[in-house]
Each structure stands twice: as structure tokens, then as C-alpha cells.
Symmetry: C2
Subunit: 338 residues, 2 copies
């Protein structure tokens, strides 16, 4: 008996599913091109030193790395394409203008601890706007995300926006002891108002800042921006973050019908420094797209500049499209499994 299995954790999409992923990618690239974004092909492997420069500690654990037998170098199968683009931006200023509008398509490999260290291959299509900061660039990225979802057939997807610094500024202003800070972050991820109130009691910040902490649990859904404005009054850093978000939303209003807001996130923000956004579609197991502003990453590679981008997870986006078509009574596109 021949063992035809794949390396642990990997899998083959069926031909139907592959075709859907490829069609989706082609549709997205037509939208990216219509916004002036140019396609990059990037290598499968990077030196580990480059990958380390682009990712934070937690993300680095998910990198599949090995010694390349020919050279003895420690190399990694790329876990993320954005740091590759940051490397290229710094390495090839002759080829990449400032600002540069770039897009890409391809697999990345991530080892997920939740699945006993097995790699998962994720097919992405995404964009990066390098060298452009401020609300206009933020609004462009938001509008491109909305158009991409609409043209991909995911008009029903909701765009959720946040800001990478807001919750952190509120937490910092409360001046919690280290243990209480960890507890507060944990409580924030669960949106647990009572636990946040308990953590706030040990803070040394001004009362307004400590009062803001439990209110953070409610900074999503309808009216969240108004509540955030009230809450941020006494916390200048949070107020600045909120102003950035509101400026971007105001500029994109004509092109982005409606967004949901979630300002309560403090974890898993990676290299983001400004507005963040994600797309959620009915039927998909996770966000179909995610991204944000990362104004500190490019400098790590030696050519500083503001930047913003997002990636569509082709797998989850296709899942949403296939479920939508199935629900509508269209012949289910997924091939039957034995």
C-alpha cells in the first residue's frame, strides 16, 4: 500500500474548490489593478533574519524554519507576505516608487500551536500602500477593501474597523500593576466588564482613566464611536487614535456604506500601529480579510515610511461564497467527499 498522504497539517483542495479560489483571486486582482496596484511575485523562502525582523515574538513561533542544506543558512517558508514587501521596499528603492501601490497573491505557511504544531498553508491575495500615511491613505485602503469584497461576491460581508493604539492607551492611562494589566488584557479579549472593573481598582491612573477601563468592554456595535469619544476625553493618546479612525471613516464615507466598530481589542495586533480593519462574511469560519496601518515596520528594514494594507484569506472567502451559493439552491460547488 502506497502512502499518498501529505506532510502533516497540509491538504489538497478539491478541483472545484481550487477553481473557486483561483477565480476569486483573479477577480480581486482586477479590483486591485483598477485602483492602480501592481502585482509582485515574492519568493517562497526568506532568510530567518528577515522574517524575524518583520514579526513579533508570538508570530515567530508559527514560522516553519530549517537549515538550507546547500548554504547552511537558516531559512523560513514565508509566514506572511507583508514583511517580504517591506524588505523589497528597502532593498529596491530603484524599483519601488514612494508611494508604491503593490499587490500579491500566494500561499503562506503557518504552524499553529492549536493544532499540535502542524503547518497550515493559507492562500492570500492582498495589497500594500507603502509610503502613504494619514487619513486619505486609510480611506483608500478601506474603500479598496469594500470594493474587493463587493466585486468578489461578498457584498454581504461586514467591515469592522478598530485602532491598534486605542485600547492600549486606555489601559496605559489606568496605570495598572503588571499582574492586573495582564488580567485586564485577558478580560478585554472576553469583553468582561466586571473583570475589567476589578482590575481597574488596583490602578494608579486618574479616576477618569480607571473608569474608562470597564467601559471598554462595550466599545463595539451601534453607538460605539460616540461612547469611545466620551471615554477618550481624559486620555489624550486614546483621543488621538480615535481622531485618526474618525478621519478615515469620514473620508471613506461615500465609498464605504457602513462599518462596524470594535475598539476593545488589544491583543494579536502584530505590527499594526493605526487603524485596523477586517471583513466578516456569513458562512466563513473566520475573517475573510484583515489588515491595517503599520507605520513602524518599514523602518525596521532601513527605509522608513508609513504603510497600510490588507490580505484576503482566499480559503475563508471561498468558504463564504460556496455556502452562499449552496444556501441559494445553486448546485453546491464543493465536490462530494467520500
Amino acid at each position: 500500500m502506497i502512502d499518498l498522504s501529505l506532510p502533516l497539517g497540509l491538504r489538497d483542495p478539491t478541483p472545484d474548490h481550487s477553481a473557486h479560489l483561483a477565480e476569486l483571486s483573479a477577480r480581486l486582482h482586477r479590483v486591485f489593478a483598477s485602483f492602480g496596484y501592481r502585482r509582485l511575485l515574492l519568493p517562497t523562502l526568506e532568510r530567518l533574519a528577515v522574517v524575524e525582523r518583520g514579526l513579533s515574538g508570538a508570530a515567530l513561533e508559527g514560522v516553519l524554519k530549517f537549515v538550507e542544506p546547500g548554504s547552511g543558512e537558516v531559512v523560513a517558508i514565508r509566514p506572511d507576505i507583508t514583511p517580504q514587501i517591506a524588505r523589497l521596499w528597502a532593498a529596491r528603492p530603484d524599483a519601488l516608487p514612494d508611494p508604491a501601490r503593490l499587490c500579491y497573491d500566494g500561499p503562506v505557511l503557518r504552524v499553529r500551536e492549536a493544532r499540535a504544531g502542524r503547518p497550515r498553508e493559507v492562500h492570500q491575495a492582498g495589497v500594500e500602500l507603502l509610503g502613504a500615511g494619514g487619513p486619505e491613505a486609510d480611506a483608500e485602503a478601506l474603500a479598496l477593501l469594500r470594493r474587493s469584497l463587493d466585486r468578489a461576491g461578498l457584498g454581504a460581508a461586514v467591515v469592522e474597523v478598530g485602532h491598534a493604539r486605542f485600547a492600549g492607551e486606555v489601559l496605559a492611562a489606568a496605570r495598572l500593576p503588571r499582574a492586573a494589566r495582564a488580567a485586564a488584557e485577558e478580560a478585554l479579549s472576553r469583553k468582561d466588564e466586571a473583570a475589567l472593573a476589578a482590575a481597574a481598582r488596583g490602578g494608579r491612573g486618574r479616576p477618569a482613566a480607571r473608569d474608562a477601563l470597564p467601559a471598554q468592554a462595550g466599545l463595539y456595535g451601534e453607538g460605539a464611536l460616540g461612547r469611545a469619544r466620551t471615554l477618550a476625553r481624559g486620555i489624550p493618546g486614546a483621543a488621538r487614535a480615535l481622531a485618526e479612525l474618525e478621519a478615515a471613516l469620514s473620508l471613506s464615507r461615500r465609498r464605504v456604506r457602513e462599518v462596524e466598530v470594535d475598539l476593545g481589542e488589544v491583543r494579536g495586533l502584530g505590527y499594526y500601529t493605526g487603524i485596523t480593519f477586517a471583513g466578516y462574511a456569513p458562512g466563513a469560519g473566520a475573517a475573510v480579510a484583515s489588515g491595517g496601518r503599520y507605520d513602524a515596520l518599514l523602518a525596521r528594514f532601513g527605509r522608513p515610511g508609513p504603510a497600510i494594507g490588507f490580505a484576503v484569506d482566499l480559503e475563508y472567502a471561498t468558504q463564504a461564497l460556496e455556502r452562499r451559493d449552496g444556501a441559494r439552491g445553486v448546485r453546491p460547488r464543493r465536490a462530494p467527499r467520500r
Copy 2:
């Protein structure tokens, strides 16, 4: 100073060049789809045991392999996509009908000894027709190759055909001692008629077979098929190979304007067992496409069947397109290098 280099041997295409590769791939896939070929996405990694089953010894030396830290398995970055498709054909009979028309797109990684063991990443787009043998399938593949080159803008490319068994049958019929056989193979690759004649003198085959050997050096260019017919008269295996090639050419005549013939190749045939073909375009450093019939590969994975396919080397094909546009006085598409 930050080291922004890539792992040894890899490189970044410029954005212009990337865009050309991506556009070319999109154009090819439209042709593949018009012939009914469906797109597959295949994983970057395979277990080494699977790769070994699909490649011969020489090709295996070019595989980048390592121990996957999570599982301890020896895995390889795919050096070729055809064996992956052979694996899938055997592993998922529920998802792949017989016959199956499949196409793909993506990078493969090959370590080239000529470049001191450095890996080269090759972007390919290709097709496989699995479960279909005989001249009709051969003619379909030839017609699809021709149409692909034409629609890609490579109408000036020449299609060269051969047969994986022809030269080997002639060599076998000459019944050379082992050392003379090696010398003859070497002479054949140089098309060195004198050396072939010298090698033939030591053969124990019938005179007709020994006489055929030096004539092999001239089995290319105009009139090659006629000369091959004469030469194969006393060698049944060679005559059968030639008949297969002529049947395919006859069936594809309406759709494939003209081909060049080269029946003198005996090396580097990999898993091919029947007709072989390649596309050569002005301005490209090597073949822009290559492929052939491989009727023994699928059985190695446990689901036997005839098969034929080809891959376009997107890098060389784009090189040809860029040189063509440059020569025509069109703005050169390649970005300036510092």
C-alpha cells in the same frame, strides 16, 4: 547595516516583471479553461517519499529537502508539479474523473548543481491530461500548446517534437557494450556523427541497426521525419515510436501549423514515455514550454493510466515577450536596474 539579501540563489522579480509574469499566467489560464482544463492548487511541501516516487535519480538531486521540525518527517519543497498531480489522481479518485483535464500555476524550487547547489525558483503554468492515451490525446496536448503560445503573444515560437523512446530503441538495437553505450549517448547529445559511427563499430546488433546509429545525429530539421522512417525500418521499437509521433502530428495538423522534429535526444527525458515537445521562442534563454507523454508515472502512485502534459516556464516566456517588445521599439517593460 541591515542584510536584506534573499536566501542564496533566490531573487525578487521587479514589479514590472512580476506584472508581466502574472499577466502571462492569466492569459494562459484563459486558454487552458477554453480547452476544458480545471485549475488545481497544490501544496508547497510534499513528503520526500512522494517526491522520490515521481522523479528519477538525477532530478532528485535537485530537490530541497529538510526535516519538518514539528513532525520529524522529511519533507521537500516541490521541485515539479506533475508528480503532485499524479499523487492527487491516485489519492482522490472521487474528485478526479477519468479522464481528467487539469491545470496549475505556481513556483517550484530546484537546486542546480551548475550554480553551486543554489536553489532556483521557477514559476510555471501547465496542464495535465490524465487517463487519456493515444494519438487523439497527444494531438490535443500539441494543439493546446500551440494555442497557448499564440495567445500568450509567442506566435513566433517554434514547437519542437520528439519521442522519448525513439533514440533509445535505436541505441538498444545496436547492442553496444556498456562503455560504448555511454559514449554513444554522449555523442548523441552533441549530434556528433563521427563519434556515433566509432561507437557503432563495437556493437553486436544487426548491421542495419549499427548503421542507424550515426544517422541519428541528423534526425532534426527539414526532412527529419523521412530520414527517421528510413532509419527505423529494421528496428521495430523505433518504428512504433515514430508511428505514434506521426499519428499525433497527423491528427493535430489542422491546428498546429508547423513543427520541428528532433528525434536524436536520449537524455533528460525524466518520466516521459511517448511523444515529447518543447516550445522555443526568440529571445528566451531556454525552452519556454516543455512536456510530453508519461504513461508509467501514474501507476507508481497506485492508480495506473496514460497521461500527457506540459508546463510553460513563465520566466523564460516573459523574457521572450519583453525582448520582443523591446526590439519592436515599444517602451522596454523591464524596470531599470541600478
